[in-house]
Symmetry: D2
Subunit: 364 residues, 4 copies
């Protein structure tokens, strides 16, 4: 198994839902970046469940400790290790999942591939492992901030409810104002209601999360096989529950002609922009200086309490399964932080790779 | 720049549209695979332009030579080099593109990042570089065939015309019967008409290409950061003109509840399947034994002959551009071969990585 | 900075001498390997200082905790994290080293490259970071043991005292019997005396460490750029204080003719061996089934208490330095464990890469 | 098999001794480096056999063609492909080697690992594949020259004849004056005589090659697992016939105390040097600004015409072998170019990785 991502800014993630600890190592962050435990904790708190009507009431404390990589308040170029110790590892009996994979959940793959599967709370297949993404992303964001790059993810659709597009400044402000993390406050309250409805039915619902990154210079990404859009698509598709990724106009390009959607260039005061941004900030695999815009399709949480058909892998026979427990009826709100973090990791990596940030030392 | 993809089955691509030659090296193909020049030529011929009403009439011979890696008709474990020499390198004057980037084409990125840009025919930013993908993909397909894995890509949408879903065997048969490579023959002829219309208007049109891989064992892909869906999303998004990638139900998951789309397991005669395949053959980042289904959104060719606004990078001022030349009015039909090849490369790589194919020698 | 090694069996190391914690993550160890904290602790105890007349009397407890990767006593294919918390981080004042690099110690490189250098106890440039190698190596050894591969390192020279060659079984037995970890017990006691002498003079002394690996199948390693000898040379040269690496006859090949040292093949009972093993088990970059033998040159510890010339990097002027503290007068005995561990990591990695060990699951 | 080396400046080598062609792709060379076919040809000519009394009289033309990566006389950031077509592929019958591995030659590994082995002239196990190293190295040298870095390799020992140490400027001048490429002209003529003697006996002889790189800034290399000395050791040990690598004082450190060989710092006119260079320019895995000095032990060519014992792998029985053909009686003179090239590849790669050379564009 490989649990690392990034070439120069490399994040290695470890730990399982109900194991001793989870965390991540960031290797390759340049020295002299001011960084504190609070910078990371702040981001983890956004991901934390049990904080609103639309997430699981399950409590996870998620207190991070930095074990290495900081000297006198700044990074020193060595690997930064962030770890979260699990408080109550054995709160519950998960043995009914030992041989019976949950439909549309990773269980079956883990069981057949590795043989020895920690099925407690989903083990390393749990959404809880994204604390590693968030630790990596928090450091990446702090690094990108030194270059005036900012990233925000927000929910644009839940079920059949779609948000109206908003300005970047409004999005930044509004996502913090509602538990769904949707920038259109009217849609947000309808979404909240829909999620609570589905929860009461023992069901779950999907949605769409958009991520916008501003302040990106032109020239990130490398043509052909290490393109910026490819690397973003990869890390976003790697988030559990994501089944689609699009950049700019995305799937809607299929419905258009070139003359309708080509982004024409414009220069004014020596600043080059495009009149439209249907490309979502990336053309030919490289950033063009416009905001980078991606959207991901997030499936409904597969863990639902309704009775489902499954199989018993030991007995080799069909078996029903009912998944009790306190699952998120919709993970989109919490996925926003993971999408933001994932995007930040790739952008930080490419900023170093493309020579915009010095690989060893921020002061050089 | 990095022009390689794959960890064990690694494809390195080289060459530019109007340079001396283009090609690819495949490093990591196990020994003892029967392989001939014809195996590769056959695939290249599908990508070749100038063969139908819907592609550019521009002729490219694309005759491949294998320079290394084959001994007595079989691979010998050493790097396989396939090269295509360009016949007429300097057929045309491209100097009007030297300082004036084409809207929504990679030119601008190349110019600003590398400074010394071979603008002739788009240089290495040209779609012509996908001959490297096809060389790699042809070898990957031959390797996968030894494991009874088959991959087919077909066009499912052009502009507002959508094809009806078809059975795998029908798709295989029908794509070869029409120039659009669409399996719904009725839709295909409407698509053909639409493309010819747009061409006559000096415009272009987008579409959607679906890829289906059958015969995949359960357990390909590695959870968290080297998932199979992430790696597929990456290589597919890396294809020029692709702006979106989805697996299984894709973006439509946003509109559904868990109980509607969860794939329930079923066992019969010790064979495990899922009743539906909304996951598109991948759950938790690993294959589950069902067909792997992806779709990509392909934008309309950005090179259109209509007059467009651009800039002159040397003079630093706004400038109009008219792109003469014989461009594909819709690249979806030719992208099918590139999508097939890209999918084959990732699947071959993961088949070796996951231990289904011996890394050194097919006879072991 | 990059702190990872290995392609399939990947070790990522973290932490600094006087930081909160040090450790390593092993990613890529197949599932179903029995592994306990004791397996790792046992190896760490061999590296531990303060245990004999020839090491520093400095105490380091080095108690490892496994934070992830084990389920019900066996690996589960997920990353294995081993961590050692430092007990007394701020035992001493190291401020005299803040701007004054120690001759032949890494200080100067760290200071000039990263700017923000944790100079306490050498920070991440300290020999103490090799606990990460040992954690990785302990897991690698356990994995290799399932394939009947065994690795032993021993001291063959200290200063001008050279050990007589010994049989593998004698080496295994004798290294544990003396603090120098030399298999020739007579030489061992002379070496011990020499080390104590040098220590009393405030000086240090160098030596040679040999590593022997038995039970290796033929065919590990890949020709040209990922050869087994190259990968071994790399990890061994990467050990601090190592200035030379040789395989088999090593530098002595310069003094010989082909007819004198070629290893002739012999077959008996269908078992192929070579009559001599001047190649040290590796020819053409691949193992040939004979024992793999390497030797490394270990320089005398650069930290000596004698007064030395150095510079003050802040004042930009020459300055004398006297390094007080309890340093190893000869690190060869402790390096044996690090050489064993490093060799084990590379062999485990290549056993998986070459298809001798299944990448995901030991039971397959 | 993997045939690539380097992270940012990546060389991928292909081809076999008697195949259609051999060559290399350099991916990651920044744009705007002036580069011509002659720059590469010049280096290949130094490696070419048949040019003196001490090499094989076998003729190999080795005319390189650049197929991609150069635009208007300069690199353009895309992969640079250099290829050499073999003129007479089937000059000789090699079938006696089909099942009978030559002692101390890679044959046995190739046969047992890959099954389908091109035994003609040693196939890809032949020293001839180092044309790929030289193509990569020629480009690396040209790149390093823009930073005033220069690299020279020379022979310091053949059999029992050792050269006296010489100044860098003398070495540069003298290596071109004699076929042995030894800078001590008196020793050179004795070496030449020894080689010719061994040749007439149907035997071969080993030696030592030293490489010196000057002009290196302090701070190349990354501590722990991607150290500069480790990466140099790897690429040098990867050269066929090399059995040992040392840096600076090398194996002689074993005979010394810290006070004898520590390199004390000195500052004068704000320039920092060390009084001695026993570390060979690398401490703690990073360059310190002093010349980087390595030495490799080169074994006698294993192909000798004396009768030797071997085995027949098909018949599974012992068999004698006599290797006819025109082999180098000593490959040290030709290895100098390969060592120079290999060193240049690693230094170019680390110059980019450490931020001394811009990764995309020399003009930035």
């Amino acid at each position: 198994m490989s649990n690392s991502i990034g070439e120069k800014f490399k994040v290695t993630s470890f730990g399982a839902s109900h194991g001793k600890a989870l965390g991540a190592i960031v290797d390759g962050c340049p020295a002299n970046l001011e960084l504190s435990q609070e910078d990371i904790q702040k981001e983890l708190d956004k991901r934390k469940p049990g904080t609103s009507s639309v997430t699981t009431p399950r409590k996870e404390s998620d207190e991070v400790q930095i074990l290495s990589g900081i000297f006198e308040g700044k990074t020193d170029g060595t690997p930064i290790t962030g770890v979260i110790f699990n408080k109550n590892q054995h709160s519950k009996d998960y043995s009914m999942f030992k041989n019976t994979p949950r439909p549309s959940h990773g269980d079956f793959g883990w069981m057949s591939k590795y043989g020895n599967y920690d099925y407690n709370g989903g083990g390393r297949g749990s959404g809880r492992v994204t604390v590693g993404h968030v630790i990596g992303g928090a450091i990446a964001k702090k690094l990108l901030k030194t270059q005036d790059i900012e990233i925000i993810s927000h929910v644009t659709q839940i079920g059949n409810i779609k948000a109206e597009p908003q300005e970047f400044s409004i999005i930044r402000e509004n996502v913090e104002k509602n538990p769904v993390r949707c920038a259109d406050l009217k849609a947000a309250s309808e979404m909240e209601k829909l999620i609570i409805d589905k929860k009461s039915e023992g069901d779950s619902v999907g949605g769409i999360v958009e991520t916008i990154a501003v302040g990106i210079p032109a020239g990130l990404g490398e043509p052909v096989f290490e393109r910026l859009d490819g690397d973003l698509a990869r890390i976003l598709m790697n988030i559990g529950a994501v089944k689609g990724v699009e950049i700019g106009l995305g799937f809607d390009v299929a419905n258009h002609t070139g003359s309708e959607i080509n982004d024409e260039y414009h220069i004014e005061n020596d600043k080059i922009t495009t009149k439209t941004n249907n490309s979502g900030g990336i053309i030919g695999g490289m950033s063009n200086g416009m905001p980078i815009i991606s959207r991901i399709a997030v499936k409904p949480t597969p863990s639902i309490s309704k009775c489902q058909n499954s199989i018993n892998l030991e007995k080799r026979e069909n078996e029903k399964i009912e998944i009790k427990g306190r699952h998120d009826p919709c993970i989109c709100p919490r996925v926003t932080i993971v999408a933001e973090s994932s995007t930040a990791i790739i952008l930080a990596d490419h900023m170093i790779r493309s020579g915009f940030i010095h690989p060893a030392n921020l002061e050089l």
